[in-house]
């Protein structure tokens, strides 16, 4: 319970404070140009595009199994699919925490329906025997890819699949999207995730959900090599045992088992011995990251996440432009009204308000630019609304201070002392009130999804800027201004005249 107000020291050095602030502004401006962040990144609602929010569908009793890793894995699967559209600045990100995490997909432009269809399918993990493989760069139709030589006669690959394999070009983005539509009973022609190799794969023999455990480890004796170990459940052990027993003796590449996630090959380890125990180790020249990624893929396979479409928003560029215009007009109008009111009510002092708001505005704008570059901040309509609302919050700080100064003058102080003693008191009020605003912004940010977060972010950011401006600009400026004869003498237009403060002539006597 700190209830005392610390004594104000002196007027400080107002000029120095202003100079530092100017330096900071100039430095930020320089940074903007150095970083090349010359345009605010606009959200989809301001420039048109499609956003889809997916919620994990959790079966009763399985909520504990939806781990962060599973969501991250789902994000990377969806990202792979979305990237296949080749639209610049597409984004896939998880929001929220724990089992309530949602995946938000935003794709600018006119891709609406395709995006919606692309992201809805559940991705599954399967183990399939490799029947043929070749570099993805081989031109389609070239004779050497004819799969007949590589495919085991026992499985008999149809001409249709062979033709598809021959024509498959893994360097094309569209072939790397994976749609979750690979039926486990089909023989399929697919690419690997990186787009460097293409495969013909036999029907799935082991399914992802037959895995019970997977982890990445390091073999400290064998030259610090990273490996991935996995354990199957009962069914999985039998199926994997049978698969490995059959393929070990076969020729390349049919002795490989492909781990296929979402219709794309993640890894295709060669099987060197039958594994009937249900415990397998995948070794290779893994880096730590690769080993952990593969382990995560396998873990995800154990519980494939299905998603519900929570919300789909498709905004045409026309509406986007309209909303941007409306936001800017509303902001301009709001600012103008506040300017007018401050000038009418506070007269000369109103100019300080106008100046402070302009400084705060430039700070916020520069921060928008820089944060867009640094943390991918995008300005949405809700964000613009947050910034406009903040004009009020910022102006409130000035009013609290100015009214305080008038109070002090009413108690008989001169303007110069009133400016200092009023500040000591107003400062506390401003800090408490702004802190409440920041609490509101932080909570809104963490409890909300989508547009609400944009609003909370700008509201919090502008409140911080407000604090900075009040302390480093408004207060020093008022100190300087109070020394000017125009204000100190209580000129009728200064905002400090006896009439405007309501000071009685009595206080002038004695």
């Amino acid at each position: 319970m700190s209830t005392t107000i610390k004594p104000v020291k002196t007027a400080g050095r107002p000029a120095r404070s202003l100079a530092i602030l100017a330096l900071v502004l100039v430095a930020m401006l320089g940074l903007v140009f150095v970083q090349g962040a010359t345009a605010v990144r606009l959200g989809l609602d301001l420039r048109g595009g499609t956003s889809v929010t997916l919620q994990p569908r959790i079966a009763p009793g399985e909520s504990g199994k939806v781990t962060n890793e599973a969501i991250d894995q789902a994000v990377s699967i969806i990202r792979q699919r979305v990237n296949s559209l080749g639209v610049a600045e597409s984004e896939v990100a998880a929001q929220g925490s724990g089992t309530n995490r949602q995946i938000v997909i935003s794709v600018p432009g006119d891709t609406g329906r395709r995006v919606v269809e692309l992201v809805g399918q559940t991705a599954e993990l399967r183990f399939r025997q490799v029947l043929a493989s070749s570099s993805a760069l081989v031109a389609a139709g070239s004779a050497e890819v004819s799969a007949g030589s590589a495919a085991t006669p026992a499985n008999g690959v149809s001409a249709e699949v062979n033709a598809k394999f021959a024509a498959l070009d893994c360097t094309k983005l569209a072939n790397l999207q994976g749609t979750g539509t690979d039926a486990p009973t089909d023989t399929i022609a697919v690419c690997d995730r990186a787009g460097t190799t293409k495969y013909i794969l036999a029907p799935a023999e082991v399914l992802g959900r037959q895995i019970s455990k997977a982890s990445a480890g390091i073999d400290t004796q064998g030259g610090n090599a990273w490996y991935v170990s996995l354990t199957f459940n009962g069914e999985g052990t039998t199926a994997f045992g049978a698969l490995t027993t059959r393929v070990t003796t076969l020729a390349e590449p049919t002795n490989q088992v492909a781990i296929v996630l979402d219709g794309l090959v993640v890894s295709s380890p060669r099987i060197t011995e039958p594994i009937p125990s249900g415990n397998a180790q995948i070794t290779g020249s893994f880096t730590q990251l690769e080993a952990q990624d593969l382990a995560n893929v396998l873990k995800y396979g154990a519980l494939p996440l299905a998603f519900d479409r929570g919300e789909v928003q498709q905004i045409s560029p026309t509406l986007g432009a309209d909303q941007l215009n409306a936001g800017l007009i509303a902001g301009g109008l709001g600012l103008l009204l506040v300017f007018l009111y401050s000038l009418l009510y506070y007269r000369g002092l109103g100019l300080v308000t106008v100046g402070s708001l302009l400084v705060a505005g430039s700070f916020v704008y520069l921060l928008f630019l820089l944060l867009g570059k640094w943390i991918g901040f995008t300005l949405t309509l809700a964000g613009i609304a947050g910034a406009i609302v903040a004009i009020g919050v910022t102006a409130d700080s000035f009013i609290v201070y100015f009214e305080r100064i008038r109070d002090e003058i009413r108690e008989g102080r001169t303007l110069r002392t009133a400016v200092e003693s009023g500040w000591a008191r107003a400062r506390h009020t401003i800090l408490v009130a702004d802190f409440v605003s920041i609490i509101a912004a932080v909570l809104l940010y963490f409890f909300a999804v989508g547009g609400v977060r944009g609003f909370a972010f700008t509201l919090g950011l502008t409140t911080l800027v407000d604090l900075l401006v009040v302390f480093a600009f408004t207060k020093p400026l008022v100190t300087i201004v109070a020394r000017l004869p125009f204000f100190a003498s209580g000129h009728p237009l200064s905002g400090f005249s006896a009439k405007s403060t309501g000071t009685l002539p009595v206080t002038k006597e004695a």
Binding site: R309, E311, A385, I388, L443
Partner: protein
């Protein structure tokens, strides 16, 4: 304007005084009436929830002269079940809202509308909300609300005093109730943007209350050291002294919000801006009222129950004079000479007459 400034001075010295604390029953009754109306409206009519909460699809076609009848006909050909709401937004937009649909049905509606109005499918602004989505955002909003109330209460209890925190929260809950009640009564659409608005009001309404309480705390810090005024009287003076400030901060806050409302409702017709600013506009107005008429009287009532304050009230009344409007010079003098109150410029002898 100048007149208003003059009022500021008179209010400050207590020459003009509005009895906020003494007539608290009157303000409480007004608020109680509104809260009863709110509860009545909520239970009879309920809130008019947007599709974000119920689940559903919304399609907006941008086409000058697009008529409601054409839109209805188009949707009818798509064979969509359930209630369908069609409305014009502004002069060149028509919006169709349906219950929750699956992907095929959504595509069918889009295609039908695109054909009817000869526009491309991509130019139709579409929003599709799953049936379980609303529960999710409602849950989050409720968590946000309670999280906020608890955090703010703790913070205010630390920054001011526990009873001020209680009084501030009473005022906030009062604001939420009445704002929600107005929404139920008038039948405005409640969308996630409205909810953001509600949550923001909480912060804003507290801003005003904080300003008033700060002055109350200053006026009453050393109140028991003298027998000049009771807690209620000192509080009333504080509210009067900050009245101009409260009026100004509220008006300044309403100006930008009002301009969003004007532009949002006027230029765009509907959407985030309108929903958000409408909630803010109503909430701000209610918040200003409660920071003057509800929070201070509640605080005074809570504090007057303390033994020290009861004793003080006895001493003050025992003097035979119970001036509701306290002589400000006297108050200032008490503050300045109070023990433990050794502060810089405040503590200096008054240099009256030096201007």
């Amino acid at each position: 304007m100048l007149k208003l400034s003059g009022i500021g001075g008179r209010l400050y010295r207590g020459e003009t005084s509005i009895d906020f604390i003494g007539k608290r029953r009157r303000w409480y009754s007004i608020s109680a009436l509104f809260i009863l109306l709110s509860i009545g409206a909520l239970s009879l009519q309920g809130l008019h929830l947007g599709i974000e909460f119920k689940g559903g699809s919304s399609f907006t076609v941008n086409k000058a002269g697009a008529s409601i009848e054409d839109a209805r006909a188009a949707v009818a050909t798509a064979g969509i079940p359930g209630e369908i709401i069609v409305q014009n937004i502004g002069t060149n937009k028509v919006r169709v809202q349906t219950a929750a649909l699956d992907t095929a049905q959504n595509n069918a509606v889009q295609d039908a509308l695109a054909t009817k109005f000869s526009v491309t499918v991509e130019s139709i602004d579409t929003q599709i909300v799953g049936p379980s989505w609303g529960k999710e955002i409602t849950r989050k909003a409720v968590y946000g609300l309670f999280g906020f109330l608890i955090c703010v209460m703790l913070y205010l209890a630390m920054a001011f005093e526990p009873k001020m925190a209680v009084a501030a929260i009473v005022a906030v809950v009062h604001d939420v109730f009445i704002t929600v009640g107005i929404y139920a009564l008038v039948g405005f659409d409640v969308t996630p943007a409205t909810v953001i608005g509600f949550l923001t009001i909480l912060g804003y309404s507290l801003y005003d209350t904080v300003v008033v309480f700060d002055k109350i705390r200053e006026n009453t810090r050393t109140i028991t050291a003298s027998s000049k005024s009771t807690y209620s009287q000192a509080t009333n003076l504080a509210v009067n002294q900050t009245l101009v400030r409260s009026f100004n901060t509220s008006l300044i806050a309403l100006l930008p919000v009002g301009s969003i409302l004007f532009v949002g409702a006027g230029l765009l017709g509907a959407g985030t801006l309108k929903d958000l600013s409408l909630a803010l506009f109503i909430g701000l107005a209610v918040g200003t009222y409660s920071s003057v008429f509800i929070a201070p009287p509640v605080l005074a009532q809570l504090r007057e129950k303390e033994p020290a304050m009861i004793a003080l009230a006895k001493r003050v009344n025992g003097r035979g004079t119970a001036p509701l409007t306290v002589n400000p010079v006297a108050t200032a003098a008490v503050v300045a000479h109070a023990p433990g109150e050794v502060r810089g410029p405040r503590n200096q002898p008054k240099r009256k007459g030096r201007k």
